[in-house]
Amino acid sequence: MNRRDRDEPRRQRGVSLWVFLPLAAFVALAVLLASGLGRNPEELPSELVGKPLPAFQLPSLLGERTLTPASLRDQNWKLLNVWATWCPTCYVEHPYLLELAARGIPIIGLNYKDETDAARDYLANLGNPYSEVVVDHDGQLGLDLGVYGAPETFLLNPEGRVVLRHAGDLNQRVWEEKFQPLLDQAKAGENRSGGED
C-alpha cells in the first residue's frame, strides 16, 4: 500500500465516520422490518373483531350519495371487500367475487386509494359484484380498519360487526375454509334459537 499517497490522510479522517453509516442505516432498516413483523397480516387485530365498523362518511362510487356504516347495514350477513385498480391480485380475485354475488351474497366494495374514474371503468369493464362501493380515496377508512394492502375481505354480521378478516385474495378454497363455516354456524344458531339475536 502506498503510504505516501498525498490525499491519504484526508481520506482516512473522512473514512472513520462514514464506515459506520451503512451499519447504522441497516440497523434502522432492521428495526423497521421487525416492527412490521409483529403484525400478522392474515389475522385481524383483535380489537376489531366483534366491533362495528369505524365511523365514516364517504361518497359512493355508484351514485351521488354519502355512505355511513348505518346506511350500509341491513338484516344480512355481508362482505366488505377492499380493492383497487392498482392491485394486480384484485383482478385475479374479481371473477370469484362475481360468482359470490351471483350466488346472492351481498358484497360492499371499499375502493381503496384509487382513481375514481379508473375504478368506474374497472367495474364497467369487468362487471360489478358490489351492491355498494365506498370511495376511500385518501385511505383514511382503510387505515382505521387496519387495512394492510388490497385485496382484503371482511365478513360483517347483520349488526354490522366485523366477524372475520381475510388478507389476500378470496377464492373458493378460502371461502370454504374460512367464511362458509362461520355462515353455516350462524345459520344453525339462528335456526336453534329462533333468531334470538
Partner: protein, 651 residues
C-alpha cells in the same frame, strides 16, 4: 422412503456446512494447513447431500407421495409431470431447498474453479458461504421442512399447484432468479474474506468479478422472465407492476449492476475498494431482504404465496447476523482500505462513480417505495406509493444514467482531456437528436420525456458504434481485422449497454403508444384497435387435464389481409376452483397484439380486452441482450486462461 432420505441428507448438509463454517476458518487463523484443506471436500459433501435432497423431493412429486405435506399442498395426480416436477419450487419449503441446493452448488464451484487463488482466501470464501448455508439449512429444518409427513391422516389426492404457477415461464423463472440471488453470495463471500484477510488488491477484484457477472446475468434473465410471465399470465398486459416482490428482485439487480462496474474500477485501477466491498455486502443483503419480504408476510403482493411471521422472524434474525455482521466487519476494517493513486474529476473513474451513485439512488428509491407502507404505518402517515412515485424518480435516474454512461465509456482511466471528449460527443449529438426525434414521431406524437428517452437510447447506441469503430481502427490493420482484435470483455460491455438502449426504447414506446380497449363482444362482433380488425368468430368449451375452459376464437386482419388467429381462454381449475385468464398474444418484433377474455356479460357476450402494444418485446429483448453482454464479458481470455499471471500484474 425418499422423503426420509431427503430429510437425512438435509441434516448431513447442515453438519457439513457447520464444519465448513468453523474449522477451515480456524485453520486459517492458526495456520493449520490440514484444517484448511478440508474446506473443498466439505463444500463438495454439502453439495452432494443437497443434490440427494432435491432429487428425493423431485422423486416424491414424481410418484405422487401425498403423505408428504409439501407434495400434497402443491401437486395432485392430475397435474402434468412437468408441472409436478417444477412444483418442487412452487412453494416456500421447496424454494428454500432450491436456494440451498444452488448455494451449495456455487460453493462447490468456487472450490473447484479457484485453484490459482491463494488457499487462505478460498478457504475464507468457502467458510463464509458455509455460514450462509448453515442459516438456510437451519431455517429449512426448523421452520420449513419440505419433507414433513402428514401421517397418519394424509390426503388421497393433493391440492392443485397454484394455477398462476402452472406455466412454462414459471418453471424457469424462480431458478434463474435464485441463481442470481445466490450467486451474489459468492461476491459477498469474497468481500468478507477480503476484509478478514485485509487484502483487497486488484487480484482480489479479478477473482470476485466473474462470479459477480455470472450472478448478474442470471438475475437479469430471471427478472426478464418474471416480467414476461406477468405480462402474459396475469391477463392484464402489464409488464411491470412495482409489486414488492418484483422490487425485491430489482434492488439486488441495481446494486449488483453498480457492483460489477465498481469491481471493474477496483481491478483496473485498485480504487474504490471499500466502496466495492460495501456494494458486495449490500447486494447480497438485498437478495436476502428480497427473501425476507416475500416470505415473511411483512408486505403482501400477488407473488407472496406463503406468508408466515415466525419464518419472517427467522429470516430477519438471519439477515441481521449476515448483513449486520458483515457491515460491522466493514466498519472496523474499511478504514484501512485506502485507495492507491488518485484520479482526476474528468476520468472514467469519476463517471463510473457517478453511475454507481445513480444506481444506488435508484436502489434507494425502490427500497423506500417498497417499505413505505411499513414506514408510513410506523409513523402514521398516509401516503400511497404506486407507479407514479416510482416513475417520477426512476425515469429521470435512468436518463441521467445514460447521460453519464456515454462520456464515461469514452473516457480514459485516470484522466481524460476535455476537448476530444466534447468533440466526439458533439459529433454524435446531432445524429442522435435528429434520429431520436424522428423515431419518436414514427409511432405517433410522443411527449417530450418519451422523445428525450428515445434520443438518449439512440445516442447510447451511436456512441458505442462510434467507439467500436475507433478502437478497431486504432490497431491500424483495417476495420475488420481490428474488430477481431477487440477483447471479449469490451465487446460484452458494448453489447450490454446496447441492451440497455433497446430496453429503454421498448419501455418508452410501449408506455406512450400502447392502445388498450375493453369492449363487450359476442361471436360475430368486430373491434378495431391500432389499425387491426378483430373479429370474434366463435366460442368453444374445451376441457384440459385439470381445468375446464371457455375459449374464444378471433380472426385478426389488417387492411383486409388476414394477420393471425387468436384464441384467448378463461380456465377454471377443478381442484381449487380458481379462475385464470389465458391471454392470446401475437408477438412480433415491432408490436404485440393481446386479446384476453374478461368476464361473461350475459348470454355469450364477453368483456374482451384488446391491446396493441408496440415494441413491448424490446423490453425483454433488451434484458436478454444485457445478459448476453455479461456472458460475452465472462468469456474473455483472461478468465479462461488459468489465473496464474495474477501475481505479476499486482506488482
Amino acid at each position: 422412503m425418499a422423503a426420509e432420505i431427503g430429510h437425512l441428507s438435509l441434516w448431513v448438509a447442515l453438519a457439513a456446512s457447520l464444519v465448513l463454517a468453523i474449522f477451515p476458518l480456524i485453520g486459517v487463523h492458526r495456520g493449520v494447513l490440514a484444517w484448511q484443506r478440508y474446506a473443498r471436500p466439505l463444500a463438495w459433501l454439502q453439495w452432494m447431500a443437497m443434490t440427494v435432497a432435491i432429487l428425493a423431493l423431485g422423486y416424491s412429486f414424481y410418484i405422487n407421495d401425498f403423505s408428504i405435506t409439501y407434495v400434497a399442498n402443491h401437486s395432485n395426480s392430475e397435474l402434468p409431470l412437468g408441472y409436478r416436477l417444477s412444483a418442487i419450487w412452487g412453494g416456500h419449503e421447496g424454494s428454500l431447498l432450491l436456494w440451498g441446493w444452488m448455494l451449495a452448488g456455487w460453493t462447490a464451484l468456487v472450490g473447484l474453479l479457484s485453484r490459482t487463488v491463494p488457499l487462505t482466501m478460498v478457504v475464507r470464501v468457502l467458510s463464509v458461504m458455509g455460514m450462509i448455508a448453515v442459516g438456510f439449512l437451519a431455517f429449512m429444518l426448523f421452520t420449513s421442512n419440505p419433507f414433513d409427513r402428514a401421517l397418519p391422516w394424509f390426503v388421497m389426492d393433493g391440492a392443485d399447484l397454484n394455477p398462476l404457477l402452472q406455466d412454462p415461464g414459471l418453471i424457469v423463472h424462480p431458478p434463474m432468479l435464485y441463481m442470481g440471488y445466490v450467486g451474489f453470495a459468492v461476491a459477498f463471500g469474497f468481500a468478507v474474506a477480503g476484509l478478514l484477510e485485509g487484502n483487497l488488491d486488484p487480484a482480489w477484484a479479478r477473482w470476485a468479478r466473474p462470479w459477480t457477472t455470472v450472478a448478474w446475468c442470471f438475475l437479469t434473465v430471471g427478472i426478464a422472465l418474471g416480467s414476461w410471465w406477468a405480462y402474459y399470465e396475469l391477463g392484464w398486459g402489464g409488464w411491470w407492476f412495482w409489486d414488492p416482490v418484483e422490487n425485491a428482485s430489482l434492488m439486488p439487480w441495481l446494486a449488483g449492476t453498480a457492483l460489477i462496474h465498481s469491481l471493474a474500477v477496483s481491478e483496473k485501477r485498485n480504487l474504490f475498494r471499500a466502496w466495492t466491498v460495501l456494494l458486495a455486502i449490500v447486494t447480497f443483503s438485498l437478495s436476502l431482504l428480497g427473501t425476507f419480504l416475500v416470505r415473511s408476510g411483512v408486505l403482501t403482493s400477488v407473488h407472496a404465496f406463503a406468508n408466515d411471521p415466525s419464518r419472517g422472524a427467522f429470516i430477519l434474525a438471519f439477515l441481521v447476523v449476515v448483513a449486520g455482521g458483515a457491515l460491522t466487519l466493514f466498519a472496523l476494517r474499511a478504514g484501512r482500505l485506502s485507495g492507491q493513486g488518485g484520479f482526476r474529476a474528468m476520468s472514467r473513474e469519476s463517471f463510473l462513480l457517478g453511475n454507481n451513485l445513480v444506481l444506488l439512488a435508484a436502489t434507494f428509491v425502490v427500497l423506500m417505495g417498497t417499505l413505505f407502507p411499513l414506514l408510513g404505518e410506523a409513523m402514521d402517515i398516509k401516503v400511497s406509493i404506486r407507479s407514479p412515485y416510482f416513475n417520477a424518480f426512476f425515469v429521470p435516474l435512468t436518463l441521467l444514467l445514460i447521460l453519464l454512461l456515454v462520456p464515461g465509456m469514452m473516457s480514459n482511466w485516470k484522466r481524460q482531456a476535455g476537448k476530444p471528449l466534447v468533440r466526439r460527443l458533439l459529433w454524435l449529438a446531432p445524429a442522435a437528436l435528429i434520429g431520436g426525434w424522428l423515431g419518436a414521431r414514427l409511432p405517433g406524437a410522443t411527449p417530450w420525456p418519451g422523445t428525450l428517452a428515445l434520443i438518449l437510447a439512440l445516442f447510447l447506441v451511436l456512441a458505442h458504434l462510434d467507439d467500436v469503430v475507433r478502437r478497431a481502427l486504432a490497431y491500424n490493420r483495417g476495420l475488420f481485422a481490428g474488430l477481431r482484435k477487440l477483447t471479449r470483455s469490451y465487446i460484452g460491455m458494448v453489447v450490454a449497454h446496447c441492451g440497455l438502449a433497446v430496453l429503454v426504447a421498448g419501455v418508452t414506446v410501449v408506455s406512450f403508444h400502447e392502445i388498450e380497449r375493453d369492449v363487450r363482444m359476442s361471436p360475430g362482433d368486430v373491434a378495431e384497435v391500432g389499425g387491426y380488425r378483430f373479429e370474434f368468430e366463435s366460442l368453444s368449451s374445451p376441457v384440459g387435464p385439470n381445468y375446464q375452459s371457455q375459449k374464444a376464437h378471433f380472426l385478426v386482419s389488417r387492411d383486409g389481409r388476414p394477420v393471425t388467429e387468436m384464441n384467448p381462454e378463461k380456465r377454471t381449475y377443478r381442484a381449487s376452483g380458481q379462475v385464470m385468464t389465458e391471454a392470446a398474444i401475437d408477438g412480433r418484433l415491432m408490436r404485440d397484439l393481446y386479446v384476453a377474455l374478461g368476464d361473461p356479460r350475459g348470454e355469450d357476450a364477453w368483456a374482451v380486452r384488446i391491446y396493441h402494444k408496440p415494441m413491448v418485446r424490446w423490453i425483454w429483448l433488451g434484458a436478454l441482450i444485457m445478459a448476453l453482454g455479461g456472458a460475452l464479458a465472462l468469456s474473455d481470455r483472461r478468465y479462461r486462461k488459468p489465473m496464474g499471471g495474477v501475481a505479476g500484474e499486482q506488482a
